[in-house]
Symmetry: D2
Subunit: 309 residues, 4 copies
């Protein structure tokens, strides 16, 4: 397969199929439509599927809206409802019931704007665990104990994110963790418009800030639902797209003998190495501050809807 | 004693003595001068001292500068040096050696400006634990493993701060915790100018945000050094000062029979209850944003100096 | 009259009447109810009224909601609608028609949270003047040319706010200015809950940051509508309330001879001078950051509704 | 010449010469060294020079440090001193004397992080004009009247930036304007490390936010000194570099007949059009928040040094 850098299973699938491959054994793919919102479910069911698109075994639900910012009240509620329902369903499939405590972890660096999606979401979330513990009569029926942390990033804490989360999990014993993270996508059109929910947790190396160790059911011993929205695209992606454009323009002239040597993966590696200098650069929309503000509000509200009756 | 609301032992002591009391058994008090910086050490040595000034048994070191913002390079370095030395000395007296891991906890709510001192300080701190673990050759001699968290506040996390810290402490096993917190003082002159370091940890109910459960050696099983700077004053304090002013003006007229009934404590309670409405109000300097920015930089830099050789 | 510090005409009126005075010639007062929203109109019609409540001749419309933050969509729209209609009506009464250009000025210091209401409101406002100029076909009918500035404060610019606004007004020649400003109120209950609209402009010395020179029809030669929401209360207010409480408790004992000398105004002055030290302090709700965020959104949206069809 | 997108004259010159061109009539170029700081002066002296490197006639002084963030006190002072001296010299060459009023304009959008350099700089600047006017005895000799505005951006104000500045200039009649702006560079190494000072003012279309109309001596009738630091690089730049890399790899194979048709300019245009989708994207360092904080402090302090004795 092509070596593409995306945190979205739906994009990895697109590129696999776009390269002329048939859907392999181990990948299932279906779509649903809700008004202006498109939902895609990609299931990676075995090792063969994992190899094909480079994503762990599990279910990836993608909610694609035209935008997640400057929404009308109606559009916002529609997206929050769909997101909340899908989130609840994934939790239930993992055996997490309506009264079970959930810990929401907002991953990322709150002072790097496009990486602040997780911390900003937990700041806006309704937490209920302490109220249910100290003032049980003050909560209405159907409320579930929800708590939240923003563990920060290794470079600022000196502690692996998984260590902090595991420490808190062992102390308060939730039934599941929901981990919110900013993602990188391949397509500029998906930045700030697409929510991915998956039951795989967060794999090492994913996310804007390159989480170093996995935050998964394997490391935490409880289900981990990952929720993410792309807020950046990879700088190499932009370069790669441009090179592809130029090469195909040249190919159209009919002289292709010199390009047979360049397969896509080789090209990407070459560009990547030519771009070492830009390793610390990120590509974001100009209005990334607004995107983080608006999208974190949608995520917080959708999680509230999904977790309580 | 008078019921005064201050997180500073030096103020509690001042008021005790100012009320005409002699220094009781159980309180020791001494001062040192360093250029424009005054250092006061109040030792509460027994239960009698604790009752007298309402502060736990332990050592309280107060560093008073003319200001902690808009400092010249020289003034800033002087204060950071003094603060770093005092901090190191307290740690050593608690048996924490130069190579031992220290966890710095920045308490408070990062989105309420005057309560953000702790989170802002840890954001500016040099953390080294992960570098010493993954790239031991990259650190110079005399560096100590330092790590840091900003655990957030109960209202935003649904988890007692002590639970988060204890979870992390059990996971990474530091030798001591340094807890940074915004304080309330009685005097407007001490807001943003005074650093208090103590070996007592953080008592329940202290701090701007009213930490609910203690973060102390008793709850964590390792030494806890508390570091704080006043960033607010109590609204009732302002009212109480005004009432005292008016009453003493009346007393000067020579008619005191109606005031014998009002002792200071009764008066404060009366005012407090009259002020229920302002319970959610805080009194801060207008330039509180700048104070937090500048003071957190001084604290972070002083801690760096105190922890590494 | 009592020397009370409030930017709200409705409070000045309340205190005047509360002191046992009859409504004087020169003050008209009426109220309207819209669901949970109460609208009060105070008209100061002559110099006598001005002296009585200490407010310039003109109309003061006060919209009091239970809160302006964390509103449901319905409540928010209701308040925005009422605010927009009242604003439009005041403009029309001043002869400003539907197609006339309006300049919105967001007064205050964007980096002092409670003073940032003006700058935050203009940031969220829809501006249309440049679109109507460069792409007239892109705007729908009923749109009016709206432009906006955040002129900053004297201490940061070295320029009187009126000079900046006058410079811009002479350049772009709007038909009216709407000046948004954070206010001080007497009652904590009105902080973040009450919108005042008036056709008097901004008088010297009003507002959190003490605007030094008036921004009025007199200085700008075009109508100036002032819009404000209380975000702070005066520290002296808190003290004064407490003193009043204590004195009335004493008075209840039946011995009043010593208080005949203290009229309210004298008392306030005495407290004020006793509070010189707190001159630079402000009293705000703890959640003032959220209030500014939410209230500025309500103001921006209400102005949008009031200015366009 | 190659169509390169950079706001730095020093880069435009480098690319011109790097393409194998000799220095044309109309361009003068010299360098100076101060410790770790390199100063380059590019003079564009006539229309021929202007055409060659695509920069207006005038003097461009570039101060290149290894970094402008996390500086030691010594490094920071060195850079501020050099910057201050160069700024003062340019002003003097334009006939602006030590006592003349200077207006500093911080261009850009304060809520888009990499575009906030101008507004953040003026916020940190010492302004003196109002003190010299109202309290002339309070200032020390050698102080000059300095004032400052952050006019915002067309999309937020509905007013061309030049209109706001011109309005204020006509009101307060300064002798010169210093306009601070965030720049785009071609090289990632110059982001956050290079200060450009020029006597040309700000040309239309320059800057991160694409200022639409010039802020120049021609439009304001007084000298305009432009000060800028690159905070972003052009997304097309990254793509173009990658394509160049690939093409030269192919060329090394010895088959060049297909590339004779592609001159550099054509290639850049092709890429640009292929990148329409990324038009709204920007490429910034991950730590852009810190860069803006630190660089704006250096600029403010250097301007203070340059403007007062």
């Amino acid at each position: 397969m092509r070596n593409i850098k995306t945190d979205l299973a739906v994009e990895a699938h697109e590129y696999y199929v776009g390269d002329g491959n048939n859907l392999p054994d181990g990948i299932e793919h279906k779509t649903e439509d809700y008004d202006d919102v498109k939902v895609t479910v990609v299931d990676v069911t075995n090792e063969n599927g994992k190899r094909a698109i480079g994503k762990s075994i599990g279910t990836y639900i993608t909610i694609e809206a035209k935008t997640l910012k400057h929404l009308t009240d109606y559009e916002r509620e529609n997206i929050e409802d769909i997101f909340g329902q899908k989130l609840r369903k994934l939790l239930e499939e993992k055996g997490v019931g309506g009264g079970d405590t959930v810990l929401v972890a907002g991953l990322g660096n709150n002072s790097i704007t496009p990486d602040a999606l997780g911390p900003q979401t937990v700041e806006k979330l309704d937490v209920t665990r302490h109220i249910m513990e100290y003032m049980p009569d003050a909560v209405i029926d159907g409320t579930r104990p929800v708590c939240a942390i923003a563990p920060g990033v290794l470079g600022n804490t000196g502690i692996e994110t998984i260590e902090i989360i595991k420490g808190v999990v062992e102390k308060i014993k939730p039934a599941a963790v929901i981990a919110i993270d900013a993602l990188a996508s391949r397509s500029t059109a998906r930045v700030g418009t697409t929510i991915q929910i998956s039951d795989t947790g967060i794999e090492p190396g994913a996310g804007v800030g390159n989480r170093r160790k996995g935050i998964t059911e394997e490391t935490l011993d409880i289900p981990v639902i990952a929720v993410g929205v792309p807020t950046v695209i990879d700088a190499a992606t932009i370069a790669d797209d441009a090179v592809e454009q130029v090469i195909s323009a040249i190919k159209k002239e009919g002289k292709t003998e010199y390009f047979s040597r360049f397969d896509d993966d080789e090209r990407y590696k070459m560009i990547r190495s030519a771009m070492d200098e830009t390793a610390n650069m990120m590509v974001t929309p100009k209005e990334v501050d607004t995107i983080i503000t608006d999208v974190s509000a949608v995520l917080a509200s959708g999680i509230n809807k999904g977790l309580h009756d």
